[in-house]
């Protein structure tokens, strides 16, 4: 009899449907995988509250674990603590940059109390993932997915996506 696969390893191979260069683990949304009375329990957290990819992530996790021989799988939504872009792993950031997507800088502080207003030009900066130049500008604060914004490099003139800091 072959040794049973580790459900953590299986779940760890599932990639994000919108940023498929990253695994869900590298994105930081796969919070926990455990075996409980023969059932694999997976904790998943959304990046954004309305993230339309949650259903696909859930299905992909179920699919991968079923294919690995785990018949009883439960994917649970975990809302707290809220996902932050700081949870994208170092390996995830490297892969994003390699795919031409600028990884996020440090997330803004969300301490208790009023959230300060930011009226000036966006302070978010991101070096160009294509040529490395720090001279880039924001084209749009919102991009094709909930978690990205659009930037353009002033040196190589190429547009690129940037994972927003939240």
């Amino acid at each position: 009899m072959t040794p049973a696969p580790d459900p953590r390893e299986v779940a760890g191979t599932v990639v994000d449907p919108e940023l498929p260069v990253l695994t869900l683990a590298e994105l930081g949304v796969l919070r926990d995988v455990r075996l409980h009375d023969g059932t694999v329990v997976v904790d998943l957290t959304p990046t954004y509250t309305g993230c339309p990819a949650m259903g696909v992530m859930r299905a992909d996790l179920l699919n991968a674990l079923h294919a690995a021989g785990f018949d009883d799988v439960e994917v649970r939504t975990v809302l707290s603590p809220a996902w932050t872009s700081d949870w994208i792993s170092a390996e995830g950031r490297r892969k994003l940059a390699e795919a031409g997507i600028a990884p996020p800088g440090p997330a803004p502080d969300r301490a208790p109390g009023p959230v300060p207003l930011r009226l000036g030009p966006s302070r978010r900066t991101a070096p160009c993932p294509l040529c490395g130049s720090p001279d880039t500008e924001e084209v749009s604060e919102f991009g094709a997915t909930a978690c990205t914004a659009l930037r353009r490099c002033r040196s190589c003139r190429e547009p690129f996506e940037h994972v927003k800091e939240i």
Binding site: T49, G50, V78, L79, S80, P108, G113, G143
Partner: protein, 302 residues
């Protein structure tokens, strides 16, 4: 068992037979979340409060999507779509929470059983059962007015959510903690547009000022607690809206002043109408669009 595609997997996971066309149908947004009502809290109150916060988000999301295909530039169309998506996500969680504590009533009896609570609440309630404020129900007006309203609505919601992070209800606290990140992004985006329009050309200034003057009267009924909010605030579950008025006015005054716009006098607080189901014809028109297809073809699948 091994599904061939993601869609097969979705289908298999949720019992097969296709998805309800107008609902999500396959993804309970609170799956696995602990839904116990905190001690000493009336579930009916908690449900009513979730409807207030959920309906504000649902209705504003619908207003923003009215700009899709009609925004002045592609980037802003994407911005409206993304902002609406965040709000729709908040609405889904809050309406699901409201359903979990039993607020469905009439809407469950008119909706088909297979429709999830969140969709029964969104698509099968009549206007007088909605608990959103007039600030979000009002029509968009032009682009400038839409941005002023988005600034005002996200400033109010952010001030409430920042405090709601400390709620004794873990679901509300978690929804708020997530929402704060999103709402701060929306508010600052709208604020930068109001600056650009107010301090722009004579025409953009004129339109921004007209937008401020149109939106401002709606601030009157935001800061008086309904009985539900008062009871829940006393129980440490809800935020008393009276406590956020000064912060909201400070933020709005800061933005408008920097935008060279005249700040209208603060309207006197009045007893809220929208929170108790009093709405004008604009909400009925919005709901006709939002609900029409679902009501015409309940539980249709694709």
């Amino acid at each position: 068992m091994h599904e061939e595609t993601v869609y097969d997997a979705l289908d298999t996971t949720h019992g097969g037979g296709g998805q309800w066309a107008f609902g999500t149908g396959f993804d309970d947004p609170l799956a696995g979340v602990e839904l116990t009502v905190p001690d000493g809290v009336d579930p009916a109150d908690l449900g009513a409060y979730c409807l207030m916060l959920g309906d504000d988000a649902l209705v504003l999301a619908q207003r923003l999507t009215e700009w899709i295909t009609a925004a002045p530039e592609l980037e802003e169309e994407v911005a409206f779509g993304n902002t609406a998506l965040d709000l729709l996500g908040q609405a889904r969680l809050l309406l699901t929470r409201a359903g979990s504590v039993g607020v469905l009533g009439r809407s469950r009896s008119t909706a088909t059983d297979s429709i999830p609570d969140e969709d029964a609440l969104a698509c099968f309630r009549d206007p007088d059962e909605f608990r959103c404020t007039g600030l979000v129900a009002a029509g968009n007006g032009d682009f400038a007015q839409t941005m002023v309203r988005l600034l005002a609505a996200s400033t109010v919601r952010l001030a409430v959510f920042a405090r709601l992070r400390a709620s004794r209800d873990p679901v509300l606290a978690a929804v708020a903690a997530k929402g704060v990140h999103e709402l701060a992004y929306h508010r600052d985006h709208a604020a930068r547009w109001v600056l650009r329009l107010g301090d722009g050309t004579p025409e953009s200034h004129r339109r921004a000022q007209a937008g401020v003057d149109a939106v401002w009267p709606h601030l009157a009924d935001l800061f008086t607690a309904t009985d539900v909010e008062a009871r829940l605030a006393a129980a440490g579950v809800a935020v008393d809206p009276a406590g956020v008025g000064d912060e909201v006015h400070d933020v709005l005054t800061t933005v408008l002043t920097r935008a060279t716009l005249r700040v209208p006098g603060r309207p006197a607080d009045v007893v809220p109408r929208g929170r108790t189901g009093g709405h004008g014809p604009e909400l009925s028109a919005l709901l006709t669009t939002l609900q029409g297809l679902a009501r015409r073809h309940p539980a249709a699948t694709w």
